[in-house]
Symmetry: C2
Subunit: 364 residues, 2 copies
Amino acid sequence: MDPRIREHAEVVVNHSVGVEPGDDVVIDAHPVAEDLVTALHEVLADIGANPLVVQQRTGKRFRRAYLRNADADFDLPDHEMALFEAMDSYIAIRGDANVTEESDIGGEVQSAYSQARQPLTEERLGKTWCLTQFPAAANAQLAEMSTEAYENFVFDAVLKDWDAVREHQAQMKTLLDDADEVRIVSGETTDVRMSVAGNVTLNDYGEANLPGGEVFTAPVPDSVEGEVLFDKPVYQRGHEITGAHLAFEDGEVVEWSAEKNEDVLTELLTTDDAARRLGELGIGMNRDIDRFSYNMLFDEKMGDTVHLAVGRAYEATVGEGNEQNESAIHVDMIVDMSEDSRIELDGEVVQRDGTFVFEERGVE
Amino acid sequence: MDPRIREHAEVVVNHSVGVEPGDDVVIDAHPVAEDLVTALHEVLADIGANPLVVQQRTGKRFRRAYLRNADADFDLPDHEMALFEAMDSYIAIRGDANVTEESDIGGEVQSAYSQARQPLTEERLGKTWCLTQFPAAANAQLAEMSTEAYENFVFDAVLKDWDAVREHQAQMKTLLDDADEVRIVSGETTDVRMSVAGNVTLNDYGEANLPGGEVFTAPVPDSVEGEVLFDKPVYQRGHEITGAHLAFEDGEVVEWSAEKNEDVLTELLTTDDAARRLGELGIGMNRDIDRFSYNMLFDEKMGDTVHLAVGRAYEATVGEGNEQNESAIHVDMIVDMSEDSRIELDGEVVQRDGTFVFEERGVE
């Protein structure tokens, strides 16, 4: 086994999740990630924690078979809920045999399924959890990379000095925590303002997401005004949405379009009312992720990018007394900030063309 | 996909388990059985039941990694228990990448692990369950067959007229239910007597086991006297035990030996006190299973065989007021009854050289 897989497992268990002796852990993984799941069992045995392997969100072929044969009247499964209520922590491993496995499921049935299972999502997000990546061949293919190059890409992004990352990013967290209004401008196509007043900025240094490498908060739902053209493709439900454009008024998406797969974008935005409001503003700060790989777990952390998510806001980013956007979806979309771009906080530029005020590029 | 896989899934769901709309189903399967798990999702979606896929007993590589790194002080995992308590039914699919995956785990740690998890086993056996087989290459290899020949062997055994099987076997069930003492004689090496008075004979026509094809009951634990040489190998913990010989006094195994892997037999028999007493007497009646395949799910159903299990008795076979043997193990071992053999009930021969009194071989 590649020794980096064992190191990866150690980072997940010891840094990301912080598993304690006796903890009951659920590992959700596709069989392509078998080596990482095996290494996780070694590390969890050392600690004396109890793993159970499931294929739930990762069982895409099974879910496709199920959803193509089901009517749209879904129950909340008691046994999955009981499992999630009783577990201490949850490790989800991305890694597929075919990333487009779900491309021929109807959007309506997918939405109905997601909505019926939302209490499961809530329960899971209330536990300590980590979402990470195994460098499977299909994911390498999606990234247009050889499997070996993709392995190097994933392990470089995952096996980092996460304490150093935390310190670097803390500078941006402080700026955002102190700010009321955020304005994001990029070229002629993106100019959007939103309030983050009272909300909480989180510093992601490889805990719930591995790799980490962003700071993120929640916009005040009704405050978003302006328009955004997302430069990077969005990969959802087995489809690539490119050139997504959203226009906001009073916090709501009032117009939308896409160059490719606009119907998928429409399905997402019409899942529920909150699917047309923002749930997240994130600043990508991980410059070791130096290329787009059609995988939001990595793409949203890329240096010199900003991402906005429609749908669900993370509870921990919503300040006391502020409204939490609650939706069955959470879809991140990325704006490239490396050229002709700026982030302003309360009228002050804190990032221009990818360089933050607290750093000098080229001398890092 | 081989259309027999979909038929197999239909037999499991509709005949073996009898899944109802809304049922919460756990499917325990190794990735080699992916096609059958996919077909099960199609069938369960038709019914409106809720599947969750786990790798628990089937995750042998994971368990090996865990047990080789664990100390012998195991918890009962709350999350697995909560899942089992909440599920309505449980489908376990045999099928491995490597059937000897657990051959280098210490027997002591295996026993400690089994014992700590016994409440999980009890909970699972209290639900509607089905253990079936996917014809994976490794299992074909164990049976010393090509994969295609093994596929035919498995599907022929599974896709049967189970109503006809039930009627045929009911004749032997009636005889056993009416009997007090069973005597099994084979050659010079096996002559064992036991009481089954008050216990219940079950007719296995493909419900909890698929393939089915046996009738079975529980011996009264203290009543077993005599000795047995098991003609067929026993495959346990990745090892083949051959020529196992047990001598019983007052129901207890007082002497044992084996030609090969006697130490594995010793580990099994010393798991707990009840591991040295019988938990099952079974009569194999499925003549479509016409060869030994090193797989007890099939082997114990072979026509012209009898099997005895040391360890746990199935609760449903124990009559009211009779003692149930309770152990962390249940290990079946087979006696060939095709030649120089007879089964006597209360002194009357009911089977001689494989032919039952209620049938005439050759004219079936």
